[in-house]
């Protein structure tokens, strides 16, 4: 069980796949760029058939903005935004939100803090004013800090006994050296216990600034209304916040790290260096991964490890181009007596694809899937608002949705096979295995 507000930030693997960059693509989505009198920019899709709107705010930075010695400050701060603002304490704030039937959710990851709001047209002004107080005038009352801190610590302690979280933390610690990515953004029990109200205030100041803000809006709202709304909501933001951490020095050696944990099924997380989102070969790599291990039942990893041999319920791989490092990751869970075989198969598939490439049919099937599945993402106002904010955060052009499928179609067999040779690196693919795996030991290089 997760504490109520603090949703797990190390997303379940399915979530990570989705995170793999919003590559939106519906020609019918008509995006307008809105620039407010105060100079705030947003992308809007008008959709007046249902009387509500979704608003997505992304602040680049996320938990990687934590100051030295203050690990967990940004995460705790984000959990406190709905715990009282202006003259409303935590419960009064919640009552006000319920009375308006608005929903605000605040989420923070390694690279960004996101605010996802939806509100009815009939009380939009009041809802947005309430949202404004939570962003601009959060109270950070000491009793709320202590209450949410206890929830965060409960979550950290639970992660310490969860094989997936243990694996994720072991992998990042190995891969990212001194970079904030190396440790869990929730912090440790010690670091979170040491956080003061001043630390929370500093984290708040670090995150919320104009120079790192990206906005998507979808729903029953006109450009003029959105413009006024945004100036009221965000016009008082300071120009800049905390400095960004800068690129991580990624270091992943081949081999296996076993983290002993008494549980019947071992959880393996594997990874190697990845490819940047703005690399010319990104789409070729993306199509390649669709064939190797992306979700669905048709991938090579799924076919070999699950469909043919029944060694697992789920196996997948995903490109993970983060803001300050790019990695190529995957995961599989198999009972302790089978996980060694599953890992051997992953390495074999990694090598086979590097050496032999993919077939024309695999390429065509992957492209048909990727281009056909793209419109399925535009699945509601909130989802589209989130995609719009994500596109801006990644520096994609406003016409990207209409051209994205062309980029997928343009990938050739030669592209995929060349990128497979350059990218896939089975000798530097590292496996972290949490469990009591038969026949596996940590390799010596550790």
């Amino acid at each position: 069980m997760n504490a109520p507000k603090m949703r797990p930030l190390i997303a379940a693997l399915a979530g990570l796949v989705a995170l793999l960059t919003a590559l939106p693509a519906l020609a019918e989505v008509k995006i307008q760029e809105v620039t407010t009198p105060k100079g705030i920019k947003a992308w809007l899709v008008e959709e007046h058939s249902i009387p509500f709107a979704a608003l997505e705010l992304r602040f680049k930075g996320g938990t990687s903005l934590d100051l030295p010695g203050k690990r967990g400050a940004t995460y705790l701060m984000s959990g406190l935004l709905e715990e009282g603002a202006a003259d409303l304490d935590a419960r009064a704030f919640a009552r006000a939100q319920e009375s308006l039937a608005a929903s605000f959710s605040y989420d923070v990851g390694d690279d960004a803090l996101s605010v996802s709001a939806r509100f009815l047209s009939e009380n939009r002004d009041e809802a947005v004013e309430l949202l404004r107080t939570s962003l601009m005038e959060p109270r950070f009352d000491q009793d709320a800090i202590d209450r949410v801190r206890a929830q965060v610590i409960s979550g950290i302690m639970s992660d310490a006994k969860d094989p997936r979280d243990i694996a994720a933390n072991a992998f990042t610690q190995m891969a990212y050296g001194e970079h904030p990515y190396a440790t869990d953004g929730k912090g440790t029990v010690e670091s979170v216990n040491a956080l003061t109200r001043d630390d929370i205030l500093a984290a708040h100041k670090g995150v919320f600034a104009r120079d790192r803000l990206y906005i998507g809006a979808v729903g029953d709202i006109t450009p003029e209304e959105l413009s006024t709304l945004l100036d009221n909501l965000l016009g008082d933001l300071p120009e800049t916040g905390a400095p960004f951490p800068g690129p991580a020095d990624v270091s992943i050696d081949g081999g296996v790290t076993v983290v002993p944990f008494d549980t019947p099924q071992s959880v393996a997380l594997f990874g190697q260096r990845g490819i940047e989102r703005d690399d010319d070969d990104f789409f070729a790599a993306y199509v390649m991964n669709q064939i190797l291990g992306a979700g669905g039942f048709e991938s090579r990893l799924m076919t070999e490890v699950r469909e043919k041999r029944g060694l697992t319920y789920g196996i997948y791989s995903y490109l993970n181009p983060k803001d300050w490092a790019a990695v190529y990751m995957g995961s599989v869970a198999s009972s302790n007596d089978k996980v060694a075989e599953a890992i051997k198969l992953v390495k074999e598939e990694w090598t086979r694809l590097r050496d032999d490439g993919v077939t024309e049919k695999e390429l065509e099937d992957a492209k048909t899937y990727l281009t056909g599945a793209y419109p399925l993402r535009f699945d509601g106002n909130g989802e589209i608002a989130s995609i719009l904010a994500g596109m801006q955060l990644q520096g994609l052009p406003i016409d990207y949705i209409a051209t994205r499928n062309d980029k997928v179609e343009a990938v050739t067999l030669d592209d995929v096979n060349r990128v497979a040779k350059e990218l896939l690196d089975p000798d530097h693919l590292h496996f972290v295995v949490v469990g009591k795996p038969d026949g596996l030991e940590s390799t010596a290089s550790n």
Binding site: E47, P51, G310, Y369, A373
Partner: protein, 460 residues
Amino acid sequence: MLQTIARGLAPLALVAGLFSGLAAPAFAEAPASVTDRVTDFMLDNGMQVVVVEDHRAPVVQQMVWYRAGSADEPKGESGVAHFLEHLMFKATKNMASGELSATVAANGGEDNAFTSYDYTAYYQRVAADRLELMMKMEADRMVNLILSEDDIRTERDVILEERNMRTDNNPRALFGEQMNAAQYLNSRYGLPVIGWRHEMEELSRADALDFYHTYYAPNDAILVVSGDVDPAEVRRLAETYYGVIPANPNLPERIRAQEPPQTAARRLTYKDARVAQPYVSRSYLAPERDPGDQKKAAALTLLAEMLGGGNTSYLAEKLQFDTQAAVWSNAYYSGTSVDRTTFDLVVVPADGVNLEEAEAALDKALADFMERGVDMEQLERIKMQLRASQIYQQDNVDGIANRYGSALAVGLSVKDIQDWPEILQSVTADEIMEAARDVLRPESSVTGWLMRQDEEEVMQ
């Protein structure tokens, strides 16, 4: 608590937040209500069809729900409903093993399936012009499944790994399994949907095919199509592909073993070295939504929200604000069920508070609630949110499809589904308190402590 498990990696969150499961009357100014989007009809062979329109994007979802879940399994074969769900992706007389999913993917679509106590459902999401192909394949596997012994061996290993992942690797899930087993004295709801491991290991080809031939037929199925479709065209396609399949005249009536009166409060402790955060869980046997009789379930739905719905709830106020006994507390109830279900409470104690103290704090809060009664302002806020959900849910047509599919699969009618929002709005404070008195009775409860391996049990 109901569980739903899926074949693939991204199960639909069917039993998500309380509000997601609810419909409510539209605001006066709402231009269209959910009901306006829904068309329903019956094929001659008894297959029920529901169409939910949303023309904003050229996308369609097809779902076929069978009124057969784990609670319909024969004794000794727990998990066979879910096992069959996996096997439905293997070969048929007309398709190779895996061909259906491969075809969906090759058409840029997504497909999956899930199983619960009362139903098993299959779905695809694709571009709207591919609906016919989806129907052709889904209709094919309703009757033409072939299973090889090899399929059985491999897929049985897959479901055992699924059990490992969902349950055996997770002390909270193992604890929940024991809670359920203690709650139900006679109902199949006391067995896990995925099955007990020792029975899963023995599931055979014959077991799977028996379940298939008993329950998979048009007169035991519901087709729900949502998205950019025309109901008349859906009817034409449904008649073409499903309408030609004969009804199963031997479909068994859905008669299940019922609970006897529950007369003894039960307690259990589950200890596991992997427990990081101990907690107290309490469940009470509770009535479900019944056709034409949903008032009590509506009252319990509001009661759960009142007791456990976030920072303004009664338990949060008593256990997290007035006292700091708990890090977290919540209440759950979902009435969409064939037979009697549960009303659940959970309290995660604060550091320094033991489970006995946490349980005492919970019981005191409940007693105080029974004495104080309903906070009318809170009730009004909850009803306001329910009314608003009628607007928000129009943005999620597949969510509406899920709600219709699951409710029809447990025996409710389209009218019951469409009446539900108004019934929720009509619930009075007295009805909520009456429901609370009826359901929150020690003799029909189970109280469980999830504990660390090294924790001392306090003497009772």
